[in-house]
Amino acid sequence: MVAKTGTAMYLKFGATVLSGDYRTFEAEETGDVVDGSAGADTNRTYLTTLKDGTGSSTIVAQAGSTALWAACAPLTSGTLEWDEEGTTAGKPKHTCWAIVTSRKMATEYADLTVFDVAWQFSGAVADSTY
């Protein structure tokens, strides 16, 4: 098996490509369960309910440009696409409808200005290949 890094990452939200200035991206998918145990049960049993997911990214803010910041305004919705190995044919591709739930810009006196974006997934994540 060959490991990989994120240098080829392709990250796009709506019509805006974010990967040119991205530092990190994280997608988390979860599944909810309910406790189905009762009576004389000695072990808990669970029933599955709904799947959910969130995404987050840290992006380097660009001087003189607000395009990326504007694309990540809260409650903006669109297709979020993340392809950790780029867009070469055969490489993994993930897409999901997503809504921006927060964005936060951190400015330091003597360091890069970056901002964090968080998305709430709305619907299923589609895993495919390019």
């Binding site: 990967s19 200035d21 991205y22 380097v60 001087a63 890069l112």
Partner: protein
């Protein structure tokens, strides 16, 4: 990095308070001054750094040593102040890149004894330059 060095030189060349006190208006050298260059003069040289590789764009974080060399400590100190005036919190013109951070950091002070027994006083700064 040639583009950074060109920007650094241009900024120093344009700072008349500095160049007026040098042995000539062009007495600013990359790496080292030619032999028997008249004092005082300024030299700058790469001291560290390179690509940050924190995102796909080419952010460079480099450090340059910029110092004045004179045969009088006070004179070298005055020139050191002008180096700071020329470079601290300024924006360099770097071909192909945007300079988003330039700042003087550690001060440099050292004294050199030549073979002839003359004292040469080096005063300057390590200058951090970040470009994207």
């Amino acid at each position: 990095m040639n583009q950074v060095e060109a920007g650094l030189r241009a900024k120093l060349d344009a700072y008349s308070a500095l160049t007026a006190l040098l042995s000539s208006a062009t007495a600013i050298w990359n790496q080292a001054a030619p032999p028997v260059t008249a004092l005082p003069y300024v030299v700058f040289s790469w001291a560290g750094g390179g690509l940050e590789n924190i995102n796909p764009s080419e952010i460079h974080n480099v450090l340059y040593l910029v110092k004045a060399i004179a045969d009088d400590a006070t004179e070298a100190g005055v020139l050191q102040g002008h180096i700071k005036g020329a470079l601290h919190k300024t924006t360099l013109t770097v071909s192909g890149f945007t300079n988003f951070y330039t700042a003087c950091e550690d001060e440099v002070q050292l004294t050199e004894t030549t073979r002839e027994g003359t004292l040469l006083f080096h005063r300057g700064y390590f200058v951090r330059i970040r470009i994207d």
